[in-house]
Symmetry: C2
Subunit: 556 residues, 2 copies
C-alpha cells in the first residue's frame, strides 16, 4: 500500500456533477471528471412525458446524482491513477436549497410509479422560483409575529428557500406532501445514499432552512400559523441530526462503493452548500478573510467568533460554514449579469465587429478599452441595482441608475462605470459588516469572473483599498469538498484532524494578488462618497422614485 | 404683366444657401434651389492654403453667400417659371451669430490680399467655439458689475455670441480688429450687398449682440472694463440703425439684380435669424403659440405683448422676432443629438442588423418598437442633460441620467425614455414661461425631427397635454423669409402691409395636429412629477454630484 492518500471532492452543480481527486498531503488535483446530467434542469416537461410544468419551475432528477457517482468518480480515479484503497475520505458540496421528498428509506417519490407523474415529487432545484406567493405569506406572517429568526436573515425569506418550497408542495400537491415522509436537501440525500445515514448539514439547514443552533427550526406555533398541516413538520419530515459540514456522517456502504469503484468503509463527510465549500477551498478557515464568489451574482462569506446582527445579510449560522465559528453570508444580486446585459443588449455593433475581427470576445475588448481609463475619467457613476439590492437594503424593487452621461460617453466608459458600481456596492457590504462588528481584512476572490477579468479585480482592490487575492484553484468548491472529506477521514487514516489543517496542506500555493493603487483608491474614495449619497437618497426613502416607477409600470 | 406676384425667401444655412420662390397670395412654393457652399464649414485650413486653424474654429467664406445669389436664385426662378418683374420682395434669414469684419464699403477683410491669410479676417460661423475664454471673461465682468442686460439673457453670455467672437479677434489678431471698420452679422451683410445700405436686424442684434431697444448695446463703461480698446465700439464698428426683421432696408441694386437675374428696385427686407424666421414661417404671428424647431437641439420661440424676466431663457428682445411684440427664445441644448448618441454608440448590433434587413433606418425601427410601449411601461426615467441644461437652469456642467434600469431593459425602452426626457425638459420650459407671465397655449413644431418622428410629436403632446401641431412647410425658415420679403414690398406693390397678413395668406393650410391622449397625459403627469423632483435634486444644488463628477474627471 502506497503512502499517498487521496480525498474525493464531489461538486453537484446546476447542469452537471464533478468528481475531483486530491492528494491530501499536497493538494495536488490528480484527477477530475464531469458528468453532465442527462435530464439537466427540468423546466418545461417532466422527462419523457408531455406533463407540462408551471412557469418558473426548475426541477432535477435525483438519478442524475447517482449517475454522477457511477460515471464521474470512476473516470476521475482512472485519470488520477489512484488505487481505490488510497481514497480515504469523501466530501460533498451541492447547490441549495435543492430539496426532494422521499420515503423513510430515502427513495425519492419521483422514483415511484405512484408519484412520478407529479412534478412536486421531483427535486426542486435552487432556482425553482414558482414559490413566490408562499414566500410572501411566510414573510407576512413572520413579520406580524416578530419571529426571532427573521432579523438573522436580513428580515426576508426567499422564494428559493426550504419553507417556501415545502409550502408550495403542500398548497399545490397535498398528496405529495402527505406521502413525503422526509423532505431533504439533495446534498444530505446523496450522503444518505452513500452511507445509509440521514444527517442534515448545518450549512443548508442554517442558510436555507431557517435553522439556528440556539433556536432550532421555526417553531410549531409559527408553522401552524402558516398552515395547520405543517404542525410538527420539524419532528417528522425534517427530522434528523444537524451537524457541521465535514462532520463524519458514516462510512461508504457496499452499494455506493460498487457504483463508484471504491472500497466500502471510506469516511463520508456531511455535505455543504457549493458556495460555502469555496471558503476552505480558497484556503480560508479563519475570521477576517472574506471569500467572494464572483459570477452572475456575488456571494460573500466570512467567518467570525461571535454572532452579530448585520442588516440585510442573507444569514449568519453557527457551524454553518466551518465547525466552531459563525459563518456569515451576504449577497450582491447583480454583478456578472449586469455586464452581460450591457454587452448583449446595449453594445454598439462596432465593438462586436471589432472583437470578431480581432478574434477576442466583446468582454475582452471592453476590458482592454476600459483599462485605458483612469478612475473618474468616465465621468459616470452608477448604482448597481439592475436586480435590486440584497445587502444591506434587502429591496428587490430598487433598480439601476447611471448618472453623468454626455454626448462623449462611450461603451468602455459605461462598462467601467458598471464594474465600479458593483465595487462600490461591495465596499458598502464590507462597511456594513465592519460597522456591525465583523472584521474584513482581506478579500479572496473565486468564481468565473475572478478568473476571466483582471480589470475587475484591480478595480475591486482599488475601490476597497484592500488586497484582492485570486484563489488558485479553478474548482474551488470541489477542492473545499475534498478538504471536508480529508477532515472526515481524520489524521489516523492519513487525513486531517481539522479543516484548518486540511486547508493549510491542500490549498495550492498559487495566489494572484491585486494590490490597491493608492492614487486610484484616493479618487475612488471621492466617488464612493458620491455613491453612498445616492445609495441613501434612492435606497433609504429620501426619494422612492424607483419604487414609484415600478408601480406606474405595473399599473399600465 | 401677370397678376401673380412672388416673394423670394433666401435661407443661408451652415452648409448651403437656399432660394425659395413663393406666391404671395397663396403661399404656394413654385420654385426652390440650393447652392452648396464651395468652401462649406472651414474648420481645418484656410481654403487653398496650408494655414491651419486653431481647434473649435468654424469659419465661412462670404463669397459663398454671393454665389448663393448667383446660382440658387436664377435656378429657383427658372423652376418657378416666374417673370423677373413679378418678384416684388426679398427676405433673408441667416444663421447667427455669424459675423465678419469689413471695410467701410462692406468689402470683407478676407477678400483683401493684405488680410486673407489671417483666419480672423474670415466669417466666424455661429458654431465657432474658440472664444470660450472670452465668453468667460465677459460673464465674470458682467456679473461683477451687475450689468442690467445680464438677467435678460438668462444670466449667461455664450461663446457663440458677438461680443465673445469680437473679443477673440481683438485678443488673437488686434491688427484685424483695427482694420475692421465694421463688424457685421452675415445676414445684414448680404442685405447690404443687395441694397448698398447697412442696417442691422434687431433679431441678431438682440439675441446675439446683447442689444436691447431700451438699453442699446452694453455700455462703453462695460466695454472698457472688458478691454480699453473696445471703447466706443458701439459707435464705430457696430454703428448702423437697428430695425425689426422685415423692415424695408432698401431696394435691390443693379449689381445684385444682375447676379440674381432680377430687376433692380425690388424691396429687400431686413434679415432675421433662421430659427426666428420659422415663427412667421409656421404661421405664427400672435402671442401664446410657441414655435419649436426640433433638431439636434431645440429652439423655442414665443411672442408676448410685454417684457417678462424668465429665468434661464436665451433672451427676450423687443421687435426681435416680429415688429410690435417681445420675442422670447429658450433653448433645450440636447434633443436629436441625444437620440443620435444612443443610436450611434449604444444600440446593440441586433437592431442595426434588423433595420438593414428590413430596409429601414435604425431610428425607424426603434420608433416602431417604442410605439408599442405605453407611457410608464419602460420603468425608466431620464434627465435630458447630455449637453447640459440651458432653460431654465443655464448650467452646462449638468449631465445625463437614467434611473430604473433592470436586466429586462431593452433598447426601445431606453429610446422612449430619452424622448420622454426631452418632453419633460420641454414641459418644464413651458411651465417656466407660464409661471413668469408668458402664456403658452399651443405648440407648433417644425424642423427635421418634427417631420421624421411621429412618436416624438405624440409623446410631446401627451406629456405637455397640449396640441402639438406640425407646421406644413418643409422649408419653414425660407418661407418665413419670403413672408418678410412680401411685407417689405407692401400691399401697394402686391405684397402685404403686415407680417400677420403675410402669414395668414402665405401659410399652407396643411397642418398635422397631434392631440394629447388623456390617459397617457395622466400617467405622464405622475412621471413628470418624478422628473421635476430629480431636476431639482440634481440641478438646483441639493446634490451637485454631476458637477463633482466633472471636477473629478478634470483632475485625473
Amino acid at each position: 500500500m502506497s503512502n499517498t492518500k487521496f480525498a474525493l471532492g464531489l461538486d453537484f452543480g446546476t447542469e452537471s456533477g464533478r468528481a475531483l481527486v486530491v492528494n491530501v498531503a499536497t493538494g495536488d488535483v490528480v484527477g477530475t471528471a464531469v458528468y453532465r446530467y442527462a435530464d439537466g434542469v427540468i423546466d418545461q416537461h417532466l422527462p419523457g412525458t408531455t406533463i407540462k410544468l408551471e412557469p418558473d419551475s426548475a426541477l432535477q432528477n435525483p438519478n442524475d446524482y447517482i449517475e454522477t457517482l457511477k460515471q464521474a468518480v470512476p473516470e476521475a480515479l482512472k485519470q488520477a491513477g489512484a488505487r481505490a484503497d488510497d481514497v480515504i475520505g469523501i466530501g460533498v458540496d451541492f447547490t441549495a436549497c435543492t430539496i426532494l421528498p422521499t420515503r423513510p428509506d430515502g427513495t425519492p417519490l419521483c422514483f415511484l410509479d405512484q408519484w412520478k407523474s407529479n412534478p412536486h415529487a421531483w427535486t426542486k432545484l435552487w432556482k425553482h422560483h414558482a414559490a413566490q406567493p408562499e414566500a410572501n405569506r411566510i414573510n407576512d406572517i413572520a413579520r406580524a409575529r416578530s419571529e426571532p429568526w427573521l432579523p438573522i436573515y436580513g428580515g426576508i425569506v426567499s422564494s428559493e428557500w426550504l419553507h417556501s418550497k415545502t409550502l408550495q408542495i403542500l398548497n399545490d400537491a397535498p398528496e405529495i406532501f402527505d406521502a413525503a415522509e422526509k423532505i431533504v436537501e439533495a446534498g444530505d440525500w446523496i450522503v444518505w445514499q452513500m452511507t445509509g445515514a440521514l444527517k442534515r448539514n448545518a450549512c443548508a439547514a442554517g442558510y436555507k432552512g431557517l435553522w439556528q443552533k440556539e433556536l432550532g427550526y421555526p417553531s410549531n406555533d409559527f408553522l401552524r400559523a402558516l398552515d395547520p398541516r405543517l404542525d410538527r413538520m420539524n419532528e417528522t419530515k425534517l427530522a434528523g441530526a444537524i451537524v457541521a459540514p465535514g462532520t463524519r456522517v458514516g462510512l461508504l456502504n457496499a452499494q455506493a462503493a460498487q457504483w463508484m469503484g471504491l472500497q466500502p468503509g471510506i469516511a463520508v463527510a456531511a455535505a455543504t452548500i457549493d458556495a460555502h465549500a469555496a471558503v476552505p477551498g480558497a484556503g480560508v478557515t479563519e475570521p477576517g478573510r472574506m471569500v467572494l464568489i464572483l459570477g452572475t451574482s456575488t456571494c460573500h462569506m466570512i467567518l467570525d467568533r461571535a454572532q452579530h446582527l448585520v442588516p440585510g445579510i442573507s444569514g449568519v449560522v453557527e457551524d454553518g460554514i466551518l465547525p466552531g465559528s459563525f459563518g456569515y453570508e451576504a449577497g450582491q444580486v447583480g454583478v456578472g449579469d449586469i455586464f452581460e446585459w450591457f454587452v448583449e443588449h446595449n453594445l454598439a455593433a462596432w465593438y462586436k465587429h471589432e472583437a470578431k475581427v480581432r478574434g477576442i470576445s466583446p468582454y475582452q475588448l471592453l476590458e482592454e478599452e476600459a483599462t485605458k481609463l483612469k478612475p473618474g475619467q468616465s465621468g459616470l457613476l452608477a448604482l448597481d441595482w439592475w436586480n435590486g439590492c440584497r445587502t444591506p437594503l434587502v429591496d428587490a424593487n430598487l433598480s439601476g441608475a447611471i448618472i453623468g452621461a454626455t454626448l462623449g460617453t462611450r461603451a468602455p466608459d459605461i462598462y467601467r462605470a458598471l464594474i465600479e458600481a458593483t465595487a462600490f456596492g461591495r465596499a458598502l457590504i464590507i462597511e456594513t459588516f465592519e460597522q456591525n462588528g465583523v472584521a474584513v481584512n482581506e478579500l479572496v476572490a473565486c468564481g468565473g469572473l475572478a478568473e476571466r477579468n483582471k480589470l475587475l479585480l484591480q478595480i475591486y482592490a482599488d475601490v476597497t483599498g484592500r488586497e484582492f487575492v485570486q484563489a488558485g484553484s479553478g474548482h474551488t468548491s470541489a477542492l473545499g469538498a475534498a478538504m471536508l472529506g480529508a477532515y472526515a477521514a481524520g489524521k489516523n487514516a492519513g487525513g486531517h484532524d481539522s479543516i484548518t489543517d486540511a486547508a493549510k496542506q491542500m490549498f495550492p500555493a498559487k495566489r494572484v494578488a491585486h494590490t490597491p493603487n493608492a492614487a486610484h483608491h484616493a479618487t475612488y474614495q471621492k466617488l464612493f462618497a458620491e455613491y453612498r449619497k445616492l445609495h441613501t437618497y434612492f435606497g433609504r426613502g429620501e426619494n422612492n422614485v424607483m419604487k414609484r416607477l415600478r408601480e406606474i409600470r405595473n399599473e399600465v
